[in-house]
Structures are given as C-alpha cells and as structure tokens.
Symmetry: C2
Subunit: 297 residues, 2 copies
C-alpha cells in the first residue's frame, strides 16, 4: 500500500521561485502526513497561460535547473517520490511542457508532454518519447501530462509497460457541463484506469489566469476507476456545476477556489498487476491485437 | 437530428419466438413515438446464461433466419433502423454472439462480437471482423456488442471509419460498486464517446438469469459523453447502489427491475463529424500515431 497525495495549488504566472517555494511547503506538509508519493500540477513552477514562446522560455529551466533540483533534494530528504510539471528549456527552440519524477538515489526522470492541448502548440515543442514507467520504492509509476490522458493509446502504452500508478500533472480548464456531472476529464480518468487496471493520480490547479478558469478538480482513482479521493470541484454532482468566474469582457472575477488543497489516498499498487476482472476475463489479454492493425491509421 | 431509442427488456432464456414477439411490441411502441433508430439488448432473441454451447446452439439461428427476418420486416414496414443482438448459428462450431443492423431497402448487416466476456468463450465463437459502420438514412451507424465497448481500440476503429453513432446491444451484469457511482460500464461509455466525439446508444437488459443479475442500465450519450437519456439504474447516483437479488444459494429472488423500459434521445449525428474540441485541438488529429507503434504489442 502507498499513500499518494495530489497537492493542488495556484501557481503564479512566471513566478518560478515563489511557485516552487509554495510547492515545497505543500510537499513537506503532505510528507508530514505520511505521503510517499506527491503529485503537483502541470507547469507547477511556471504557470500556464503564456502569451507566447518567449514568455514561456523565460519561465523555463533545464532538467538540471533549480526547480527540479529543489524537488529532487526534497524527495531525497523526505524519502518520497515527487512528480511535478515544469517548463523545460529547449536549446533548439520552444520549451517543452515537461514533468519530472524525482526520488531518492536516482536521477530525475523527465517526460515531455506528447499531446499538446490547443494553444500549447503555439508555445511549446511536443515530446517524442513514450511515457516513462519507473520502478520506485512504492511500485511502478508511469508519468504523463494532462491532455495525454485523453488518448487511450497513451494510457494503454503505460499500462503495457507495467505502470501500476500513473501520476499525471494536469491543468484542466473549466468548461460548461450539465448540472450533476463531474468534469469530463474526471470521467475519462475513471474509464482509462478501469480499462487498464491501473491507478491514476491527476493533480489539477486552481485559480484564474488571463481569462482561463482552472477546474481545481484533482482526483485519485483506483485500478477499478473508482475515486478514492477527489476535490469538491471534481466530485460533487449534486449541486450546480460551477460557473465561470471570468467576466464577459475577459477580465477575471475574484477567485472562488481554495488556493491549495491536498487530497490523499491509500492505493494498493499491487492490485494493478492483476488484470483479471472475471473468471475468464483480463483487460489486457482480452485485447484483439490481431484485429487492431487498422488502429493507428 | 435523429430520435434514438433503447428498448430494454428481459428476454427469457431459450424462448426465441416469444422474445422476438416482445421485442417487436417494444419496437412498434418506440416507432409510434417517433423513434428512427431502435436498439435492443445483446442476445435479445435468445437470452444469455447458457449452460453450454449446445444450449446456445439450440437458441441460435442463421442471419437469414426467422428472428433477423422479422426485425428486418418491421424495420421496412416502420421505416426505421433496428440494431438487435441474437445468437447466430455457426455451421463450423459454436455459435456467434452477433448483432444485426436492419433497415429498409438493404440487406441485414451482421456483426459478430470480437471480445468475448468471461464464460462466453466457453459458449461462443469470437468474430474476426472489425465493427461495421453503415450509412443509414439518419447517418453513419457503427455496431458493436457489450464488452467490445471496453476496448478503446475498438471504439476508435469505429470512429475512424466514420461512425457518428455507435449502437451497442449489451448485457451488463450487476457488480459491486461504491454508493453514489454509476455502473462502470456507463462511465466507460461516456469516456469513449467523448474521446472520439461519437454518440453511443447502449441497450442493456433487466432481470435475473441463473444467478446473473442484469443491470438494466441502458444509456444514450452524446458526442461529448454526456448522458442524454439513461434508466434509473444507470444514472441515479444519490441512492445506494442496487443490491443483488440473487440469494446466497444461487437461486433467484423476485425481480425488482421494471421488465421493459424504453429510453429516448434526440441526437445530432452531424455533431459527431466535428472532432474539434478547442480552437487548435481535435480528438482524432491530435493522436500521435507516429508514437503508437508499441500500442498493439
């Protein structure tokens, strides 16, 4: 069993040192409560809503830079795994939207988001590598970022590589949805988990940035896709869906999201190794790979 | 726009003629209320819980047999599309778990379930063809059966072939789930729809059969994955999950499911042709097919 935390907070655009300061406070607090794995949001060090590549580049650092090093040092000191999003400098052009997995006694593992969302393709360079799956002291952890989760191909690849838990820094924008429904991203995380028998911890962010309202919908699901922990905004289907806090003219209304919330869940990572869901059924073995050639047309 | 109906009922094991009689009553009733597409459960003509291949074979018919012919005649007479599950005779061995799409002026299109669930592999022969996608007067309809829906590869294949609506006869067994949660199958249908921008109509069955309690959880979702219509048992997350009505000794307790319920939804099939979900994002174009080769290992 592993205690996994998602430390959701509200990064300030471009304020890298302050954002990492804040993340380290939350990491220490979570570790103090027993967390063995702490997931932070996408672009936790930099904020998200960059106007252009130059602005993103100014808030980016190499994987050997200060932010990843500070997280790595904290992981070593606290004896935990940290998965955090950051803007990664690209000497050849636009930065990457990356995530670092850091833990004691090992070099940081860097993943570069392969599926760029919307305007990100104007700001970032997409990654060209598969999601890493890393042996840690709690089990095998896969790493991907936000929109990557919406591609069942990608989650399947991580599951086939043996991921028992996928840690995903995310920034989910609030979009309209029917009253009583969870955010679509939460529904998809539930489904992806259950179709692969892999636990998923998705750490979202809160706040508003240049007219983008973030969902604050962090969620941790087990290998059956059932939420073990979720923020109020991720899970409450009984009250009306939150309304945007951006005014019609694009200006930002006062933030109504708790600026920092950590959710915790005890996960049985070993359960993800069992792909059997009935006496003769197995979510991996039952694939008809003989018929899927047309898949990636 | 098309009015789509799922006519959920409780087939009686082996009572083929009576089951088709009952289905035709429901089809006429749905068509009378304006339905242009009517989906029936998996193995609607035969029932499900066969002891062995011989018993299934006794309740099976060829695609040219009486059940498909009766559905085809009704579709022609009523000017509608019908998608219905039936046990299909296999001259070479165990029957297929098939679905027929019938409509006026065209031969029946037959699909044989490719992903067999649990003990089905002891009873049926799996199909070896991709899910058909058929041009109908309401739009392009894909056909698959129950457990097929749980393989994102399969839904993707249908979406890539242009399906605007997937009609899926299903038989979902009731399994334990946390209070307040929809059945996992419903969550997965929602997610699959939204990740492909394709509407899905899944027609479940009710009742008990030899110790199997069926969920009665029919659902119709739009291309964003939001339920347009669902039965009470598919959708009510506020009350405790239903408890099995099978006694500990395997005998069947009195059925508490309404034996027949038809749900209706008006679907904009043209909406499924738009794969764009943001200014620069498109659920199909954004796939990284260049990186997915490892997918079908």
């Amino acid at each position: 069993m592993a205690l996994v935390a998602c430390s959701q907070f509200t990064p300030v655009l471009g304020a890298v040192r302050e954002n990492v300061d804040r993340s380290l406070e939350l990491i220490r607090e979570a570790a103090g409560r027993g967390a063995q794995v702490v997931v932070l949001p996408e672009l936790a060090s930099s904020g998200y809503a960059f106007a252009d590549t130059a602005e993103a580049a100014a808030a980016s650092e190499p994987a050997t830079g200060e932010s990843v090093t500070r997280w790595h040092n904290a992981a070593a000191e606290l004896g935990i795994v940290i998965v955090a999003g950051f803007a990664e400098t690209n000497p050849d052009g636009a930065p990457y939207n990356s995530a670092a997995l850091v833990m004691p006694g090992a070099d940081p593992v860097i993943y570069r988001k392969a599926h760029l969302w919307d305007r990100e393709r104007l700001i970032f360079t997409p990654g060209d590598d598969l999601p890493p799956v890393v042996d840690t002291f709690v089990g095998r952890i896969g790493v991907m970022v936000c929109y990557d989760l919406e591609f069942p191909e990608w989650v399947r690849i991580a599951a086939l590589a043996g991921a028992e838990l996928i840690c995903a820094p995310v920034n989910w924008p609030t979009v309209q949805r029917p009253n009583g429904e969870r955010p679509g991203e939460v529904v998809r995380v539930q489904a992806e988990a259950s179709m692969n028998r892999v636990a998923i911890a998705a750490c979202d962010r809160g706040g508003n940035e240049r007219g983008v309202e973030w969902s604050g919908a962090s969620v941790i699901v087990d290998a059956d896709g059932w939420p073990l922990a979720l923020t109020e905004r991720a899970g409450d289907r009984r009250r009306p869906a939150p309304q945007p806090t951006t005014a019609a003219d694009g200006s930002t209304l006062p933030d109504r999201i708790d600026p920092a919330t950590t959710i915790f869940a005890e996960i049985d990572l070993a359960a993800s190794r069992t792909k059997r869901i009935a006496a003769y059924s197995d979510v991996i073995a039952d694939r008809r790979t003989d018929l899927y050639e047309r898949y990636s047309r």
